[in-house]
Amino acid sequence: MQNVYVLGTGLAKFGKRDDVWLEELGREAGEAALIDSCLARTQIDMAFCGHAFGGRVVGQRLLAQLGLSGIPTINVENACTTGATAFHLAYQAVAHGDAELVLVIGLDQMASGLIDATKSDFEGALGRTLPGKYALRANRYIALHDLTVNDLADIVVKNRAFGAQNSIAHFQEAVTREEVLGSRMIAEPLTLFQCCPSVDGAAAALIGTEKLAKQIGKPLVKIFASALGAGKYIPSSEGKSPDDELVRATAQKAYAMAGCGPEDIQVAEVHDAFSIGEVLAYDNLGFCKPGEAARLIRDRVTWLGGKLPVSTSGGLLSRGHPLGATGMAQIVEITRQLRSESGSRQIDPLPKLGLAQCTGGAIPVVGTASCCVHILGR
């Protein structure tokens, strides 16, 4: 296995982007990553493109926009972990020595509002929505542990304050707890501002070998762990949530791979598709003792200036959530934090290890379909 490094990152502006075709949106992010890496595009020898709504061969279509053809390209879909899964596969290609320089792009253009349930999904046919599922998880956590609706609102306050400092985020205004709780109810206890917006966006990275990393003369950002998990059926009688257990298992795999623990992580991007998603991530990633996630938000541990700032990009709650782009946008944020490129939201002192986590898909009886945890460091 070879060491694998992030060599360049690029983002397109997130938001309503019907000014461009999907390929052009991807090209914006890809060009930015190429400029950032200072590498020649002709050195790319493999590409992975993550998109959930893009149709056929988006990867090859956008490579053509970048003036590239003849590059083996794999298009990837894994619901909300689509981008992170593409990154995982790209990591494996370099780690196994199949490629020296790989371009990874995650992107989507999404209709606004609720994402439809799959046709075979009987829970969806009986009124389950995605915000509804997270709302159930919120009410269960509130019933079993110490968590209030004010804590949930404060996650949004924190992330929107970060988003206000991120020029590519969809929402760039800070909000108050009162505004969050006073916004329209979607699925109790989740109000509109606690649900990520469905927007368009693209994020890209170039990753490659140690030899290339040393050539470009930028701070080295190494991929210490790349873990992919899939939802596993857990007998209901055990009382455990398969959604939580999936993240716990994937995180354990990542920590083992990186040779570190949750106490070593100094910055994280997590799956805050809904306010409760970030709370559950604290717990399942081991950032707190089981059931004590609210403490991290109340004690401002995860705010800027705390010991472990989370969602410094503004998260999905500010950036918006194009399914294919999200996982890659998380990787871009962590890389830039490790390279001290994050401007007014830069963590000080410079973090050594950062983590990105996302989860995707809802399957009746089984639970969440997929989870990715990546650990990057310098």
Partner: protein, 128 residues
């Protein structure tokens, strides 16, 4: 060899109708004992393919709940819904027939059947 093809057709969301029923049909794995709803031909717990049909318990407790205010056009909002853990250990998604302010984790519930648009579906309501 028994292959359980009789359980191959699962719950078809586009054509479901529970008219005339007073309980749901599920399956029990003969190898590991795990119970499931809806019908399936291979066990999700042990991957065994020896299953028998069972009548799913009509009683259980709320595992978690929500009240949905924003839903696809086919649903009249707001409505209570969530997962009920039945007395025989199956976690079932359902819409609720209940005063929404009464909903809480652990509330005892029982199954009932009623219309959703032009079809009959199962619901859970608080056990009185």
């Amino acid at each position: 060899m028994e292959t359980n093809n009789q359980f191959r057709t699962p719950f078809r969301p586009e054509g479901f109708d529970f008219a005339g029923q007073d309980a749901l049909q599920g399956v029990r794995c003969l190898d590991c004992g795990e119970r499931f709803f809806p019908l399936r031909s291979v066990c999700l717990a042990c991957s065994g393919n020896h299953l028998e049909t069972i009548r799913v318990s009509t009683r259980g407790k709320i595992y978690s709940y929500t009240v949905i205010h924003r839903a696809p056009a086919a649903f009249q909002t707001p409505y209570g819904c969530g997962w009920v853990l039945t007395d025989d250990g199956i976690k079932i998604w359902a819409m609720f027939k209940a005063a929404i302010e009464k909903l809480r984790v652990g509330l005892p519930m029982e199954m009932t059947f009623d219309k959703l648009a032009d079809r009959t579906i199962y619901y859970f309501k608080p056990t009185e």
